[in-house]
């Protein structure tokens, strides 16, 4: 199947709508002068050396982040996917997922590709009857796959930067610079966020109320933090991407605690080896799982579609509006 993608639009095709009224800018929150001062301090902070002692202490614990960095990171992830009635990024372990990625090479087999074929979250099918059996596979996902030389080079470059890994800088000059390493991006990014918090609101980022945390993150996003040439992503882009990964990838990668990220979405997650249709030798055909049908609507929608949240309605509307503009533009 062609993955459904939304087109990236030609610049200037769609006029940017006014920001929603609810979005409070830090200018309002802290006063314009403090805000400008804050940004200046942030830029200054980029040049400051960092305490090495805490770094050594973290490494000694087998961790990447210091306790303060981890607190900032957890607070940031939580702002990207906050808890409400359902768990948020903190409950789901997004920060520990990120730390696991950044320290992937601390183990004999780097934690990059989980093994296969099955976890033990689902049973094998019983093909004589077309029902789930009571036999479960062992969890092969826990045993990560040994990297090839090329994969090792590639993922070390990802984490440390292409100019820090022998043999990885082959396109650095032609492509306009090295691939920035994720470890340094996190070090710098967390420092900038925390410095901004202390300058703009007088406390560590993790200690601020959530509306001030939101305001700081939104302000620095796409102003102080801009995409680099090579990865095409800013620190906040990386943070959002990794938060999503930490909430919804296999629990074996260190996040999505107990599969609660999937539960939040109403997905079963990895569903092998049972799957959704079970072949029965008795009938020489397939039986579907009544609670998770494949060829018919979900049981809870037989009487009518489940309502979306206002945000869900809005996003579908956004896409239809964009599509109309695009179609008009191309005369289609």
């Amino acid at each position: 199947m062609q993955r459904l993608r939304f087109p990236r639009l030609p610049p200037g095709l769609v006029p940017a709508p006014a920001p929603p009224a609810l979005l409070r800018t830090p200018g309002v929150l802290f006063g314009r002068r403090e805000f400008v001062k804050g940004i200046g301090a942030v830029l200054l902070a980029l040049a400051l050396p960092f305490t090495r002692l805490r770094r050594v202490y973290a490494a000694a614990r087998g961790r990447f982040f210091t306790a303060d960095e981890l607190a900032t990171l957890e607070a940031l992830c939580e702002r990207i996917l906050p808890a409400d009635g359902d768990p948020g990024a903190r409950d789901l372990g997004a920060a520990s997922y990120i730390e696991r990625l950044l320290t992937a090479f601390d183990r004999p087999v780097p934690l990059i590709f989980a093994g296969g074929p099955f976890s033990n979250r689902n049973p094998f099918p019983d093909n004589s009857t077309g029902t789930p059996s009571d036999k479960r596979p062992r969890d092969a996902f826990r045993r990560f796959i040994r990297l090839t030389g090329a994969q090792r080079l590639r993922w070390q470059a990802e984490l440390l930067g292409s100019n820090q890994v022998p043999g990885a800088a082959f396109n650095d000059a032609a492509a306009g610079g090295p691939l920035p390493g994720l470890r340094q991006m996190y070090r710098d990014g967390l420092r900038v966020i925390d410095t901004a918090a202390r300058n703009m609101a007088g406390a560590a980022y993790a200690a601020l109320p959530s509306d001030q945390q939101d305001a700081i993150l939104t302000t620095l996003d796409r102003t102080v933090f801009t995409p680099d040439a090579r990865r095409g992503m800013s620190f906040v882009d990386v943070l959002i991407q990794h938060t999503l990964e930490g909430c919804f990838s296999l629990p074996e990668y260190g996040g999505n605690r107990d599969g609660r990220g999937w539960a939040l979405l109403g997905l079963e997650g990895d569903d092998q080896p049972l799957g959704y249709s079970i072949f029965s030798r008795a009938t020489d055909g397939y039986d579907e799982r009544p609670d998770h049908p494949m060829s018919t609507p979900n049981p809870d929608e037989l009487a009518g579609a489940r309502a979306l949240s206002p945000d869900g309605e809005r996003i579908q509307q956004s896409i239809m509006t964009l599509a109309t503009a695009v179609s008009k533009f191309f005369g289609e």
Binding site: R3, R8, A16, G116, G149, N171, Q241, F248, F279, M320
Partner: protein, 612 residues
């Protein structure tokens, strides 16, 4: 470490044939050449890693499970078996006057034992009979209908040519391919399918809900002048029962873009390649990237490759078969200069040219009910009406329009929906792709739309795989600036759509929208990446490289040395022991998923090499 990168018979030292690539083309050729009726000793070089440990274990040991799993991160984010866009990037531009930018993934295919087909949802329609003589048929149609203007033919001519053999010549190999790879399907279900000599090995599996909705919608829509559309089940090399030593598919959902954890997808590794490995006549070296063919201009003596620990090695054989996929097979020739300095095998001047991708057009709508696309085989139904041929696939159709008669050779449409991938489909679109306040970058808005799966559970539609015209200017050559991890120039892809496919797209687009509306959608959206590439400022092209994953042309097959690269038997016109048997040899691209035709052509070429 490198000594462990082996499968099959480790003791073999002398090889009759060396095959470069272990996918649909190479795996198939290895199977034919190592059979008891051919008895060739074969070396297969595979650039990627091996997700199938123990694949060469002899029966009664069962076919082992692979390292594949239902794991969005491993495949869709970290590219476990994908050609890595950092280590082996490509550059892309739309024409010679623009600057090629490092684009990472330009229609990249998986690199691993078993090739790219393991990563697909294994859809296997055949081409139509008329596809093999399209140039002749179109010229005759134009001659019989004065005033008929056809873009790519008598208007803005492209480089169309007939195949050097007919559908009837290839039909027995289609039948063999369907049997070898285990194709499910229903003969007669698709009225546009050409003559078949056999039924499908297996019946279609369970249909997907949204596909049935779209099929209903399609039956309510009319093709101008030809009545209602004819939806059909989609043939696929996926088991719908126990077949060979592989189990039935469980419809786990992570199908397109993922390796199959239980081996129910009939990919090359677990079918033809395994047969070859168990024959005792095949040795497969993986993590072995071919970088140069040593040659005297008319004969290849050895292939140089880089092994898993970065050492340069050489392998000799009597003959060599390129099966690394159209872009990589052509690149290897370009990286292999003759003593005179020219690229190997390029006496026609067309090596690397006539590159074809299919023009994909996606029309999607929002279904109010959840589509639950996470259950199923990604695509279970489609329509072939938009190929623009008459039932039976022998004749080109004429359409009467206000502007007079016209033809419209598009392609098969797949009924599709999101596979329920929260990170790379839903999350990526909300947080990154939708501009500014139209999206949901973070916070409760992001959480709410994720929880709704406003796209992932509601977006459904169809994708047309339309034939794109072969053009000499659409090509692969060596980039002058960027290199891969081995320090070799990367493939530079130059590709621009022709009016042939763009006008066809315009013709079918309104009908595609009707299908989605009739299926119950409350609105729709059109994906037009390829079209944007034509109008966007050149410096904004990064990231807009084609991603159809259907790659054909570059080593065109034909009888004439002046206008084709390989003979009808698949041998290079000008290199006496070098063959190609992947999508590179296709003279035209038709409008159907190409893999079954790649397999059938590989069967025909390989059987021809050994006379079986």
């Amino acid at each position: 470490m490198a000594t462990d990168d082996l499968l099959g018979n480790r003791a073999l030292r002398h090889f009759d044939v060396c095959i470069i690539g272990s996918g649909a083309g190479g795996g198939t050729a290895a199977y034919v050449l190592t059979r008891d009726d051919a008895r060739q000793n074969v070396l297969v070089l595979e650039a990627g890693p091996n997700p199938f440990p123990g694949l060469d274990r002899h029966p009664p040991a069962p076919l082992p499970f692979p390292l594949h799993g239902n794991d969005e991160l491993k495949y869709a984010v970290r590219g476990y078996i994908q050609q890595d866009p950092f280590l082996e990037p490509r550059s892309f531009r739309i024409d010679d006057t623009s600057d090629a930018k490092l684009a990472g993934d330009v229609n990249g295919l998986p690199k691993a034992v078993g090739g790219a087909f393991q990563h697909a949802d294994c859809k296997t329609p055949r081409f139509n009979a008329v596809d093999f003589r399209l140039k002749t048929a179109m010229d005759a149609l134009i001659a019989a209908n004065p005033g008929l203007l056809v873009k790519g033919f008598n208007d803005e001519p492209a480089n169309f040519s007939d195949w050097p053999f007919t559908y009837d010549d290839l039909e027995p190999f289609y039948a063999e391919a369907e049997m070898l790879y285990g194709v499910q399907g229903q003969a007669g279900d698709n009225v546009f399918e050409s003559r078949r000599s056999s039924t499908y090995p297996m019946a279609p599996g369970v249909p997907m809900y949204f596909a049935l909705r779209l099929a209903d919608g399609a039956r309510r829509v009319t093709l101008p002048g030809y009545g209602p559309l004819s939806p059909h089940t989609y043939p696929a090399a996926i088991n719908s029962r126990f077949y060979g030593d592989r189990p039935p598919c469980v419809d786990c959902g992570l199908c397109s873009g993922f390796g199959c954890p239980n081996n129910s997808k009939g990919s090359p590794a677990v079918t033809t390649l395994r047969h070859a490995l168990l024959s005792g006549r095949c040795q497969l070296r993986f993590n072995a990237t071919a970088v140069r063919l040593l040659n005297d201009g008319g004969h290849v003596s050895a292939v140089e490759y880089v092994d898993g620990v970065g050492r340069r090695q050489q392998a000799t054989a009597g003959a060599f078969i390129l099966a690394a996929s159209a872009i990589e097979s052509a690149r290897l020739c370009l990286l292999s200069p003759t003593p005179g300095g020219a690229a190997l095998g390029n006496s026609s001047g067309q090596l690397g040219q006539n590159l074809m991708f299919h023009l994909q057009t996606t029309v999607s709508g929002f279904l109010p009910e959840r589509v639950h696309g996470e259950r199923g085989r990604a695509v279970t139904h489609g329509i072939s009406d938009f190929r623009g041929v008459a039932p039976g696939g022998e004749e080109i159709r004429l359409f009467a329009t206000d502007a007079g008669q016209r033809v419209a050779l598009g392609g098969i449409c797949e009924f599709s929906a999101s596979q329920g991938l929260p990170i790379t489909e839903d999350g990526d679109i909300y947080a990154f792709q939708l501009p500014g306040p139209l999206g949901a970058r973070m916070g409760l808005p992001l959480k709410n739309v994720l929880r709704d799966q406003a796209l992932g559970q509601h977006l459904f539609g169809l994708v047309m795989q339309a034939e794109d015209a072969p053009q000499r200017t659409n090509r692969v050559d060596l980039d002058p600036r960027y290199v891969d991890v081995h320090g070799l120039p990367v493939s530079r892809v130059t590709y621009k759509s022709h009016a042939y496919e763009l006008e066809t797209r315009k013709f079918y687009l309104p009908i595609m929208k009707q299908i989605v509306q009739q299926a119950g959608a409350k609105g729709f959206t059109v994906d037009g990446d390829t079209v944007y590439a034509l109008v966007r400022p050149r410096d904004a092209l990064l990231g807009l490289a084609p991603s159809s994953r259907h790659i054909m042309g570059t080593l065109r097959m034909g009888p004439d040395q002046a206008s084709s690269v390989v003979t009808p038997a698949g041998r290079f016109h000008d290199v006496d022991n070098l063959y190609a048997c992947d999508g590179s040899v296709f003279p035209t691209s038709s409008g159907y998923n190409p893999t079954l035709t790649i397999i059938a052509v590989a069967l025909k070429i390989a059987h021809g090499i050994v006379g079986t």
